[in-house]
Amino acid sequence: MRVTILDGTRGGRKAEADAREVLISELEGQGWEVTTYPLREMEIGHCVGCFGCWVKTPGECVIVGDAASDLAPAVVQSDVVVYLTPVTFGGYSSELKKALDRLICLLAPDFMVIDGETHHKTRYERYPRLLGVGLLDSADPESERIFQTLIARNAINMHSPVHVAGVLHSEQGTAGMRAEVQQLLNEVGGTQ
C-alpha cells in the first residue's frame, strides 16, 4: 500500500514537526510505503489557469521544469494521499494549495453530474483515498468545520472513494496526536 503525504506545513514550528513525525511513524508502523513531499522546500509555480493541461498536453501541466511535475503521477498512483496542513482560515496553507492547484491535470475537462452538481469527469480508472490532517494550536469548531467541508468537497471533485478529515491540536501533545492519527488511519482504511 502506497501513501503520498503532501506536507503543506510552513516550517519552524515544533508542533508541526511532531505531527508529521507521528503521522509518518504510524503509517510506516503499519507497513505502508510512505513518500513525503515537503512542499515548502520545493520550487512550485502557481497554476495560471490556462487549462493547457486539458487542451494542449492532456494529463500534464504545461509548466515544465519545476518540482510539481513529479506530484501528479505520485498522487494518482497512491492508495492514499494525505493533505497535511496548518488549518489556515479554515482551509489549506498556501504551501499545500500551490501543489493542489497543479493537480487538475488528473481530471478530464468534460463535465458530469454528481448529486445534481456539475463536476469534471475522471481521467484515470482509480483515484486515491483522501486523508486530510489539519493542525491547530487548540480546538476551534468553526475552523475545523470549514476544513472538514473542504476535504469532503475535494473528495467529490477528485473522485476519492473514501475521505477522512481530522484536526490535530498542539495542546494534545505527541501522545494525544498519535491516538488521533491512529483513529484517522483506521477510518481511511490504513489498517486494512
Binding site: 502557481h46 497554476c47 495560471v48 489557469g49 490556462c50 487549462f51 486539458w54 487542451v55 494542449k56 498536453t57 492532456p58 494529463g59 489556515t88 482560515f89 479554515g90 482551509g91 489549506y92 496553507s93 498556501s94 494549495k97 500551490k98 493542489l100 492547484d101 493537480l103 487538475i104 478530464a108 475537462p109 468534460d110 463535465f111 453530474v113 452538481e117 456539475t118 463536476h119 468553526e142 475552523s143 470549514i146 467541508t149 473542504l150 468537497r153 475535494n154 471533485n157
Partner: protein, 219 residues
C-alpha cells in the same frame, strides 16, 4: 488616492490578458469611483513577486477602507497566490492597531454552472476577515464564470445582467456603510446560463481548443 474613502481590489486570477475576476471587481470599483471612492487595483500574481512588491501590497491594504478580494475558484478553495496574500496580510496585522474600521468582501467565480461550489471559499474569506481584524460585509458567488470569460461586464450582454444588478446593489451598500444586502448575494448567485447549456458549451469548447493543438482524441 487620498480621498477619505479608499477601496482596494485584489485580483486573484493569474490569467492574462483578462479575467472574469478582474471584470467583476473592476465593475464594482467603477461604480464606487462614481460615488467618490478612491480606487486601487493590484494583481496578486504581480504583487507577490518581490519583497518590495509585497511591502507595497501591505501598505495598500493598510490604506484601504474597503478591501475587495476577487478570485476564481480553484479546487473548491482560493488559488494559492490568494491564500499567500491573505497569510501575509494576517501576519502583518497580527498585534497591530486595528482601531480603524476596515471592511472586506469577497467575489468568487467558478467554472461550474452552480454557484454553491463557491460556498467553502466564501467561508474561508469570512474566517480570514475575523482573524485579520476586518469587518466582513459579505461574499458574492458567481457560477458559470466561463460564460463571462473575462469580458468587461458592459460588453458581456445578457449574461452579465444578474452580476451587474448584484454589483450595483453592492456598490450602493458599501457607499452607505452597510453590509451586502441579501438581494445582491442572490442576484450574483442566480444562474446566468442553464446548467445543461453550460456543460454543452464546455464539451464543444474543450474540443475546439484541443483540436488546435491536435490532441482532441486525448481529452
Amino acid at each position: 488616492m487620498t480621498t477619505s474613502r479608499q477601496v482596494l481590489l485584489l485580483v486573484g486570477s493569474a490569467r492574462r490578458p483578462r479575467s472574469t475576476s478582474e471584470a467583476l471587481g473592476s465593475y464594482l470599483l467603477e461604480r464606487l469611483a462614481e460615488k467618490g471612492f478612491g480606487t486601487e487595483t493590484l494583481l496578486l500574481h504581480r504583487a507577490l513577486k518581490s519583497g518590495e512588491k509585497r511591502e507595497a501590497l501591505l501598505e495598500a491594504t493598510d490604506r484601504a477602507d474597503v478591501l475587495v478580494v476577487a478570485f476564481p475558484l480553484y479546487v473548491d478553495s482560493l488559488p494559492s497566490l490568494v491564500i499567500r496574500a491573505l497569510e501575509l496580510i494576517a501576519d502583518h496585522r497580527e498585534g497591530g492597531d486595528q482601531s480603524r474600521p476596515q471592511r472586506l468582501l469577497a467575489i468568487v467565480n467558478c467554472g461550474f454552472p452552480e454557484a454553491q461550489h463557491n460556498d467553502t471559499a466564501i467561508a474561508i474569506c469570512r474566517r480570514f476577515a475575523r482573524e485579520a481584524g476586518f469587518e466582513w460585509i459579505g461574499g458574492l458567488s458567481l457560477g458559470g464564470g466561463g460564460a463571462i470569460s473575462g469580458r468587461p461586464l458592459a460588453e458581456a450582454g445578457g449574461m452579465a445582467r444578474n452580476p451587474i444588478q448584484s454589483l450595483e446593489l453592492t456598490a450602493a451598500a458599501i457607499a452607505e456603510g452597510g453590509a451586502l444586502p441579501e438581494e445582491a448575494v442572490e442576484a450574483m448567485a442566480r444562474s446566468i446560463i442553464p446548467s445543461w447549456a453550460y456543460r454543452w458549451m464546455g464539451w464543444f469548447g474543450w474540443r475546439q481548443q484541443a483540436r488546435k493543438h491536435g490532441v482532441q482524441r486525448q481529452l
